[in-house]
Symmetry: C2
Subunit: 138 residues, 2 copies
DNA sequence: TATCATGTAACTTCATATGTTACATGATTG
DNA sequence: CAATCATGTAACATATGAAGTTACATGATA
């Protein structure tokens, strides 16, 4: 299974999430720079986790890839000439910090390991449900 | 001044924020639907506040125009077929609710009146600084 | 009735995320 | 060493949505 031992190729990951290998590499490059994953070239190469999955949280991933994309709110222009914008920024700068802090705290509470466990539970249930359907038809 | 008594035209607003009158109307249309502003046609027409500025907060405005744009985070697909997506959604749905609630609370604490007062303060300071520069040159 | 302002549809940029192609680099295998 | 496999990356194509623009209808005022 992905993430356990054997390297996974961008090709496999792309197929699993219905996208393109190059897109996968782009995203993974961010994760690698943050030391979350490793990549190896050549035969038997691909991506592996660089840290224990109990030690990687969604906060790490967010910092590596999500920050510019997901926090589209807040932080417009930092030093606007517009006085209205200045007033709004001033009134909300503390709020944005608070909101972001809470968000990061919640992201930090979710480990890859926990997600993987939940995923496996869902997968088992999914398979079971498929089998039930087959039996029902028979 | 804008917002006090006399209606303000989309033309004036557009000029004040360096954009287009039609764009202004589009945004203001959302505010009007929420009962925050009124519009009048013809001579002397334009936009006026529909409620007391002490009674309008950024939360009202956010609900009227910002929700789809600003909360680009969270709420991807509601019922994804992807089991990984399901696991992540499940792990974070509570978090998103919390974060959004805090955000709304902070927005709700900022009234238009407070912003207007702060704006006027900045405007006065700005003018003062301009005059100082003139004196310095002389 | 002439003018002014909103209301809106339709179209045109513009920016950005995503997808795609092509090729270079490095690692493994026989 | 040559063939193959996989990442690394640049360059380009496509799709989406926000913002800007044009044009015209509607209604209000003088």
């Amino acid at each position: 299974m992905i993430g356990a031992g054997e390297p996974v190729t961008s090709e496999q990951l792309a197929q699993a999430m219905a996208t393109n290998p190059v897109v996968v590499r782009r995203v993974m490059a961010g994760l690698r720079e943050q030391g979350l994953v490793r990549s190896e070239k050549g035969h038997g190469g691909g991506w592996t986790l660089a840290r224990d999955p109990t030690d990687i949280t969604l906060a790490d991933i967010y910092r590596a890839v999500g920050a510019p994309t997901i926090v589209a709110m807040g932080h417009r222009s930092e030093n606007p000439g517009c006085l209205v914008e200045q007033a709004v920024n001033d009134a909300l700068s503390g709020a944005f910090r608070e909101v972001e802090a809470l968000f990061m705290k919640r992201l930090g509470a979710v480990t890859l390991d926990a997600l993987a466990k939940d995923f496996r539970r869902r997968l088992a249930k999914h398979k079971q449900s498929l089998e039930d359907q087959i039996h029902a038809v028979k």
